[in-house]
């Protein structure tokens, strides 16, 4: 089975979030990028497990600039066979998805896996967009994935619970918690990653449908009001009369 895993970067969660150029740009000063946790822990690791069990290959793909090669090497160190980078700064989910769909179509994959969402833009858009562009079924937010020949059985989150569904490959799947356990790359993996193929491909188009104009930060919280642990009537009174939430 040939599996394509979409890998994006996200700022390390402890990064300070700030904006520059009149609040029009994310301030990357001192920001450490990591592989987006959903892509790494769930999509990539499950793909590797499937390959280990059934044979095949795992290719990772990123739409990004040369600066993203570092996170791609990290994903290669965890065990992907090869990497493809579409050489374009990722700004809009639509344009990113069109590039990935194009590549996936012309290279014939049985399965395209994405993470649940990127943790910087939280759009949860790219997987479904790729599926539509390829006219394939899409399984959203899968927490379990088992293969039997060309049939996939999946558990997915739905409003208020879970569903068990079955679908034939080729298919696009977005991966959420539960899919797999995080893997820590070992020294051998890191060494091997240096020489694994990382192909850079030029974008074929860059149609965007959306643009972030400005950013802002939430207003600072006013200081926390401390309440006597013996006096919960006071808390109830404040929640009712001051905060008006009960």
């Amino acid at each position: 089975m040939k599996i394509l895993v979409c890998i994006s970067k996200s700022p390390d969660t402890t990064s300070k979030i700030a904006f520059s150029d009149g609040n029009t740009k994310f301030d990357e000063n001192g920001v450490q990028y990591i592989v987006n946790p959903y892509d790494e822990w769930y999509a990539l690791v499950r793909a590797l497990e499937l390959k280990e069990a059934n044979g095949g290959s795992v290719t990772i793909i990123t739409v990004g600039t040369a600066e993203d090669d570092a996170i791609m090497r990290k994903a290669l160190a965890i065990g992907a066979d090869d990497a493809v980078r579409i050489d374009m700064a990722a700004t809009d989910a639509f344009s990113v998805s069109m590039q990935i769909a194009e590549y996936a179509k012309s290279n014939g994959f049985d399965m395209v896996l994405t993470g649940k969402e990127t943790i910087n833009y939280n759009g949860s858009q790219v997987g479904a967009m790729i599926a539509e562009a390829m006219d394939l079924p899409f399984i959203s937010l899968a927490s379990k994935l088992e293969m039997n020949g060309s049939t996939a059985t999946l558990e997915t989150e739905i409003v208020g619970g879970v569903q068990i569904v079955e679908v034939n490959t080729p298919v696009v799947i977005s991966c959420a918690k539960g899919m797999a356990e995080q893997r820590i790359p070992n020294m051998r993996g890191i060494m091997a990653a240096r020489t694994k193929p990382l192909t850079v491909v030029s974008p074929t188009s860059n149609d965007v449908l959306t643009a972030f104009e400005t950013y802002s930060l939430p207003a600072a919280k006013t200081a926390c009001k401390m309440i006597d642990p013996e006096n919960m009537d006071e808390l109830v009174e404040l929640l009712h009369n001051e905060a008006k939430v009960i």
């Binding site: 998805s97 967009m129 208020g160 919280k221």
Partner: protein, 312 residues
């Protein structure tokens, strides 16, 4: 100019569906609702009270196959000449709205938290640590509204309900089983949430959390380690890697307030923190803090709420 709102009416009219229709109304143009599922016409006609002038229902689609839903909504969008399509940003929307965006080449704004200002819409970014203002460059736009961002407003009257053939086509995803726990308030929709973490010491102590949730009519949630060790079900895990919620009231007991936890709850209107450690980072994000033992404070709070409810 016309607005189309998609709602999932399988379990009746959920609050987030009413929010989406209200939001559609606030955009100023005529609002048509497109829905699938089994709700009866009398129930659907009530959407008129929230601003819909007409409800179209395609009962041929029962499941969540994103290709079928996308075709139905696209057909409806064409039928009414929609210039804006609104979703509530729930699990269905996450699978369908992006597909529709590609199908119609209409820009998608996902996770909107306010009505548009000029030509931009405010969304949550960086796991709720910042906001972005997004513009759509295509003629038709799709907005997926984060639940609990606006309140449903009722000021119209019942509207006509018409059956609609959205040319759904075949489902390629076969549904084998659905497991929806009965009687629980789905966490993303809950207005009040009681949550607890490792400070509760063990699953046998969750009775206090559930008691408080019950008297409040709140949903329960937990921190990630609590779900990971199996003290609580996974769907209760809130935070960056779990569910992001924005209830009116979030009560956190025995949770330290790590940045990844805050990422899922910092959109809450009011946060109450109960912790034995004055240095717990959660106090910095809290509106009301109680420095004390959850084992004593939770039952006391439950009693105080009971007293309040019986006298109000």
């Amino acid at each position: 100019m016309s607005t189309l709102v998609y709602i999932n009416s399988r379990n009746g009219l959920a609050k987030n569906a009413l929010e989406a229709v209200t939001y559609g109304k606030k955009l100023g143009n005529e609002v048509t609702v497109i829905t699938t599922g089994s709700a009866d016409d009398v129930t659907l006609a009530k959407l008129g009270e929230y601003g819909a002038s007409k409800v179209l229902v395609d009962k041929s689609v029962s499941g969540d196959d994103s290709q079928q839903l996308t075709r139905v909504i696209a057909t409806a969008a064409q039928a009414v000449g929609a210039t804006t399509i609104v979703f509530s940003h729930d699990l269905t929307a996450k699978a369908v709205a992006p597909r529709l965006s590609v199908r119609l080449k209409a820009g998608l704004i996902s996770g909107a938290i306010a009505v548009p200002e000029g030509d931009t819409v405010k969304v949550n970014v960086f796991s709720g640590k910042a906001f972005g203002n997004v513009k759509v460059t295509s003629a038709v736009k799709i907005i997926s509204l984060l639940p609990n961002s606006i309140q449903p407003e009722q000021n119209g009257s019942a509207c006509p309900v018409e059956s609609f053939n959205g040319n759904a086509g075949d489902a390629r995803v076969k549904l084998l089983d659905t497991k929806v726990p009965e009687g629980e308030i789905p966490l993303p929709e809950a207005e009040l949430v009681v949550s607890a973490g490792r400070g509760l010491k063990g699953p046998e102590n969750w009775g206090m959390v559930e008691d408080l949730a019950k008297v409040l009519g709140a949903a329960t949630a937990c921190s990630r380690p609590v779900a990971d060790i199996g003290w609580r079900p996974h769907h209760e895990h809130v935070g960056q890697t779990g569910v992001a919620i924005r209830p009116n009231l979030y009560i956190a007991a025995g949770i330290s307030g790590a940045i990844q936890h805050l990422a899922g709850v910092n959109g809450s209107k009011v946060i109450v923190v109960i912790n034995t450690d004055a240095e717990a980072p959660f106090f910095k994000a809290a509106d009301y803090g109680i420095l004390g033992d959850a084992f004593e404070v939770l039952p006391r709070l439950t009693e105080a709420i009971k007293k309040f409810k019986s006298s109000n």
